[in-house]
C-alpha cells in the first residue's frame, strides 16, 4: 500500500497557523466580543439541591439603575418553545425525555440550577441585580446517590417521568454467558466505582446573542464544538426557522465535550436578547463552570469474572449504574457505548451487560473526553485483580488475553471486528522501553528502605472512527462534508464544519490538502465557525483525523482534477499530462510550461468560457470514513507512593500508541499528553464533590484541584507502526485515548506500590487521605 509514503507536509510537525495570534493575545474568544449596545447577563441560581419554587420576585432587581431586564422562569417560558434537549433529539434518543424549562419554574433540581436571569449594562451590575432577586423555596428531600434514586420512594425530579430512572434497566448477552461461567475454573466478583469529575476547560461556557429585529435573524456567537448543532438548538428553543439563525465561533478555550449544542443558560440569554432588542453576553465564571456546567464519570460496576487457572479471561458479567445528575445531558446514552466497548482488544468469549441510569440532584452528566472510558478502567483493573488472585504477572496476563491480529479479523463479542489492532505490538513495545525485571529489582530495594514504588500497565482501543460499518452514514457522527474552493487569488480554501478548540485543524487539514493538491502549506486556508458558510460538522468522538482528514484528502484530489481539466483547456494539453507541484501547474517532463496555480485561478475567474468548460473551481466533497480503523495503545506508569503522607508521584510515564498515520506528530503528542494529564488529575486530584444534602463542595480551584506543571511528568511517546487498511486515509483519532487509558494505568501502579500492605483498589479517586485510609484498612485486615 502506498498510503504512508514520505510526503512534504503530512507526517511532519509543521508549525501551527493558529499560534501567531494565540501567542500575542490576538485570539478571539467569545468573551472578547463586544457589540454596540451589548448587555451582560447573570443568573440567580438555586442554593438548594431539591426544592419547590414557591415564588420568584425580580421587581427589586428591575429597579436597580443599570439593570435593563430581569426574567423569571415563567417569563422565559413565554418567550421560548418547550422541547426536548436538542442534543439528545439529534442523537435519536428514544428513551425517557424529562420535561424541563430553561429557568426553573416549579422546582429546582441541583445546587446552581438557574432560576432567573438579570440583564444589565455590565456583569457587575447584573450580579448586583441578582442579589436583589427574592426566591422562596420549599425544601424537598434531596436525591444524592444512585441507591436512593433507584428506590421508588425517592421523590421524582421530573414529574413527567414519575421516577428517577433516566434509562430503564436493560440487559444484553453476547456469547453463551451461563455456559462460560459454568465452565470456568474461578468466578470472582468485584465492585468498582468511578467518581464524579469534570471537563474544566480553561474557558467556560458563554455566548453573545444578537437579534436583528429588522431581518428577524438571531446571530449567536458561541463557544461550541459545532456551530451547526448550536444553531439547531437555538432555532428549536426559540421557535425560529433554522435559516434565521446564524451561529459563529472564533477561538475556543477548550471544551473536552462540554460545549455541545446550547446550554439552558445560553438559550435563555438568546431569548433575552430577542426580547430586549439588544445583544446579550453571558460568560460563566469558574464557580458556575464547576457547579453548573455539568460533570461526568459517576458510575459504579458490579463485575463478575469467569477465569481459567492459567489466566484466560473467559467471560464478564457486568451491572452498571450511572448517575446522570438532573437535567438531560449525555448520561443516559453512555451505557450503550460502554457495553459495546467492554471486551476491548481481548479474546473475551462471553459478556453479560446490564445497566440502569438514574437522575439525581446534581449537575447534569455531560460528555467528557472518552465518555465511555469506564469500560477501560474497569476491565484493566479487573485484569490486574485477577492476575493477583491467580499469582500471575499483570503484563503476562494481558499478553495472554490480547486478541492477536488474524485474517479474517477476530471480532469483539459485542460485534465490531478487531481489524488492524496492534495491541500485542503495543504491549511488546512497552516491555522494550521499560525494563520490567530491572524495575522489580529496584522496587525490592526500595521496599527494604521503606519506599514504595509501583508499576502499572493498561491497554485500550478506541473506535476513532472504528472499522468500516455498513450502517454508519447519517446523523451528527455520520459522513463528513467539506467544500473546497480555489479562489481567484489561487488560495485553496477548505470550508469545514469542524470546530477546533485546541485540535489544530487549521494546520493539520491544510497539511493534507497542500500535499494532495500540490501547493505550499501557506497557500491553503481552513475556514471554520460560521453556519452561513461551512457545511454541517461536529468536533468530537476523535473523528476528525479520519473523517475530516479523509474528506480533505479526497476533496483536494477532486478539486485538483477540476483545476487540471480547466488548466488543460488553457494550456491545450490533456489533463493526464499535467502535474501540480509547489503551486505550479506544468506539463510532465517540461518545467518550462509551468503556470502558477494563482494564474490559473485568475484566468478561471475572468471568463466567460464556452459551455463545455467548467471554470467554477469548487467541489463539495463527502467522506464515509473509508476502511476506518481502531486507535489504541498501551500505557505504563511508575509511581512512588509516600506511605506517610499518601502523596503519589508519577516518576515515569510511557505511552506506546497507534493512531494510524500521523498528520502532525507534535499535534498528536500534545493530544496524548493532555489526555494523560487529565487522567492523572482524575486519580490524584479531581473530584466533583456533593455532600449528603446535595450541597456542592468543589466550586473553586481551591477545592477542585487541577494538575499543574509539577504533577505531570515528561511523557515518553512511542508511535507504533500502524496497519494501513485504506488506500488513502489511514489517519485515526487520538484526542480521547490518553484520558481513557491513563486512569487505570496510574491506579494499577498505585496498587502495585501498595501490594506489600495487601491493598486492593476498587475505585479511581486516590488523593493522599484515601491512600492512607486504604493502607490503614489493609493493615487492619480489612
Amino acid at each position: 500500500m502506498a498510503a504512508i509514503a514520505a510526503e512534504r507536509y503530512t507526517g511532519a510537525s509543521i508549525k501551527r497557523s493558529e499560534d501567531p495570534r494565540i501567542l500575542t493575545g490576538a485570539g478571539r474568544y467569545v468573551d472578547d466580543i463586544k457589540l454596540p449596545g451589548m448587555l451582560h447577563a447573570a443568573f440567580v441560581r438555586s442554593p438548594m439541591a431539591h426544592a419547590r419554587v414557591l415564588s420568584v420576585d425580580v421587581s427589586a432587581a428591575r429597579e436597580l439603575p443599570g439593570v435593563v431586564a430581569a426574567f423569571t422562569g415563567a417569563d422565559m417560558e413565554a418567550m421560548t418553545v418547550p422541547g426536548p434537549d436538542a442534543l439528545m433529539a439529534l442523537m435519536g434518543w428514544a428513551g425517557p425525555m424529562p420535561e424541563f424549562t430553561l429557568l426553573a419554574t416549579d422546582k429546582v433540581r441541583f445546587v446552581g440550577d438557574p432560576v432567573a436571569i438579570v440583564v444589565a449594562e455590565s456583569r457587575y451590575l447584573a450580579e448586583d441585580g441578582c442579589e436583589l432577586v427574592e426566591v422562596d423555596y420549599e425544601d424537598l428531600p434531596p436525591v444524592v446517590d444512585a441507591a436512593f434514586a433507584l428506590d421508588p420512594a425517592s421523590p421524582p425530579l421530573f414529574a413527567n417521568l414519575g421516577d428517577n430512572i433516566a434509562r430503564p434497566h436493560a440487559r444484553s448477552e453476547f456469547g453463551d454467558v451461563s455456559a462460560t461461567f459454568a465452565g470456568a475454573d474461578l468466578v470472582t466478583d468485584f465492585h468498582i466505582d468511578v467518581h464524579r469529575h469534570q471537563n474544566v476547560p480553561m474557558e467556560g461556557r458563554g455566548c453573545v446573542a444578537s437579534f436583528d429585529a429588522g431581518q428577524g435573524v438571531m446571530t449567536i456567537y458561541a463557544a461550541t464544538q459545532s456551530v451547526h448543532v448550536t444553531k439547531i438548538a437555538v432555532a428549536m428553543r426559540l421557535g425560529m426557522e433554522q435559516d434565521k439563525v446564524r451561529a459563529v465561533a472564533g477561538d475556543i478555550g477548550g471544551s473536552f465535550g462540554l460545549k455541545i449544542g446550547a446550554s439552558r443558560e445560553e438559550l435563555a440569554a438568546a431569548a433575552a436578547s430577542r426580547h430586549v432588542g439588544r445583544p446579550v453576553k453571558w460568560v460563566e465564571d469558574r464557580g458556575e463552570n464547576l457547579s453548573a456546567s455539568g460533570q461526568a464519570r459517576e458510575e459504579s460496576f458490579d463485575v463478575r469474572a469467569a477465569v481459567s487457572n492459567d489466566g484466560d479471561l473467559l467471560g464478564l458479567d457486568v451491572k452498571m449504574v450511572i448517575d446522570t445528575g438532573s437535567y438531560p445531558g449525555m448520561g443516559a446514552m453512555v451505557p450503550g457505548i460502554v457495553e459495546a466497548m467492554f471486551p476491548g482488544p481481548y479474546k473475551l468469549a462471553a459478556l453479560g451487560f446490564e445497566s440502569t441510569a438514574v437522575t439525581t440532584n446534581k449537575a447534569c452528566y455531560v460528555a467528557y473526553r472518552g465518555p465511555w472510558a469506564s469500560e477501560t478502567f474497569v476491565r484493566e483493573r479487573v485484569l490486574d485483580l485477577i492476575a493477583k488472585d491467580l499469582g500471575l504477572d499483570p503484563f503476562e496476563i494481558r499478553l495472554r488475553n490480547a486478541a492477536p491480529r488474524t485474517d479474517p479479523p477476530a471480532s469483539m463479542i459485542t460485534g465490531r471486528p478487531l481489524v488492524g489492532v496492534t495491541t500485542l505490538e503495543a504491549l511488546e513495545r512497552v516491555a522494550q522501553l521499560v525494563d520490567f525485571p530491572a524495575f522489580r529489582r529496584r522496587q525490592a530495594e526500595a521496599r527494604a528502605e521503606g519506599r514504595y514504588l509501583g508499576i502499572g500497565v493498561a491497554t485500550f482501543i478506541e473506535a476513532a472512527p472504528g472499522p468500516r460499518t455498513p450502517e454508519a452514514g447519517s446523523g451528527p457522527m455520520g459522513n463528513e462534508f467539506m467544500r473546497l474552493q480555489l479562489t481567484e487569488d489561487g488560495i485553496v480554501v477548505l470550508f469545514t464544519g469542524q470546530m477546533p478548540h485546541g485540535q489544530s485543524h487549521q494546520t493539520t487539514l491544510a497539511q493534507i490538502a497542500a500535499d494532495e493538491f500540490g501547493v505550499p502549506f501557506e497557500q491553503v486556508r481552513v475556514v471554520v465557525g460560521d453556519t452561513d458558510v461551512v457545511p454541517f460538522g461536529l468536533t468530537g468522538g476523535s473523528r476528525s483525523a479520519t473523517m475530516t482528514g479523509g474528506v480533505a484528502l479526497h476533496g483536494a484530489r477532486q478539486l485538483k482534477a477540476k483545476v487540471l481539466d480547466f488548466a488543460a483547456h488553457l494550456m491545450e494539453v490533456s489533463p493526464q499530462d499535467l502535474l501540480i507541484t509547489d503551486g505550479n501547474v506544468w506539463v510532465r517532463g517540461d518545467p518550462a510550461t509551468a503556470i502558477a496555480v494563482s494564474e490559473v485561478a485568475r484566468r478561471a475567474a475572468s471568463g466567460p468560457f464556452d459551455g463545455d468548460v467548467d471554470a467554477k473551481l469548487e467541489v463539495e466533497a463527502a467522506f464515509d470514513g473509508g476502511e476506518g480503523g481502531w486507535s489504541g495503545g498501551t500505557h505504563c506508569a511508575i509511581v512512588d507512593v509516600d506511605v506517610e503522607t499518601g502523596i503519589v508521584t508519577v516518576e515515569r510515564y510511557v505511552a506506546a500508541e497507534d493512531c494510524g498515520a500521523l498528520i502532525n506528530p507534535a499535534v498528536v503528542e500534545g493530544q496524548i499528553r493532555g489526555g494523560v494529564a487529565q487522567g492523572i488529575g482524575a486519580v490524584l486530584l479531581e473530584r466533583s464533590a456533593y455532600a449528603e444534602d446535595g450541597s456542592f463542595q468543589s466550586a473553586t480551584f481551591m477545592d477542585y484541584l487541577m494538575p499543574t506543571a509539577c504533577d505531570v511528568p515528561r511523557i515518553e511517546i512511542e508511535h507504533l507502526e500502524t496497519v494501513p487498511l485504506d488506500a488513502d486515509v489511514n489517519f485515526r483519532g487520538v484526542g480521547e485515548g490518553g484520558m481513557i487509558v491513563a486512569p487505570p494505568t496510574v491506579v494499577n501502579a498505585i496498587e502495585d506500590a501498595l501490594s506489600p500492605f495487601g491493598v486492593r483498589i476498587y475505585e479511581q479517586h486516590l488523593p493522599p487521605a484515601r491512600i492512607l485510609e486504604l493502607i490503614a484498612a489493609a493493615d487492619l485486615g480489612g
Partner: protein, 158 residues
Amino acid sequence: MDAITMRVNGATCTGSPEARKTLADFLRDDLNLTGTHIGCEHGVCGACTVIVDGRAVRSCLMLAVQAAGTEVTTVEGLAPDGGLGPLQQAMWDSHSFQCGFCTPGFVMQATAFLSDHPDADEQQIREALSGNICRCTGYQSIVDGVLLAAQRNRQAQP
C-alpha cells in the same frame, strides 16, 4: 470614581473604573486589551497574569485603582506590531499550546521568571509555572518552549 492613570504597554492610559473593578476587567473592557484572559477570578489559574512594575501579578486579584501610577505590560505589549518576541517564537517552535486560553498568562509568567532567572533548569521552570493551569497540553511542550527560549538567549549573549 476618580480618574486614574497608568502606563500600559508603554502608552499612558486613563480611566475611571469603579473601585471594585479588577485590573483584569479594566484591561479587557476599558482598554480593549482582550489578550489577558480570565479563568477563575480567584487567583489560582494564572490566565490573567500581567506584569506590573516588573513583577508578575494576577490581575483578577488586583483592583484597577491599585494599578494607578504603575507600568503594566500585557501580552500585547511584548513585541512590536504584533510580531513575536524570542519567548513567543520559541513557544511557537515548540508547539507549546493548543486552545490558547491559558497562553497569555503563561507567556507573561515565563517572561517575568526568565528575566530574573535566565539559567533556570527544568525543575525550576516547572515550579515557576506551577501557578498557571493548562488543561490541554500536560505542560511538557510549554516547559520545552521556555527551555528553548532560555537556551537561545544564552547562545545570543556575546
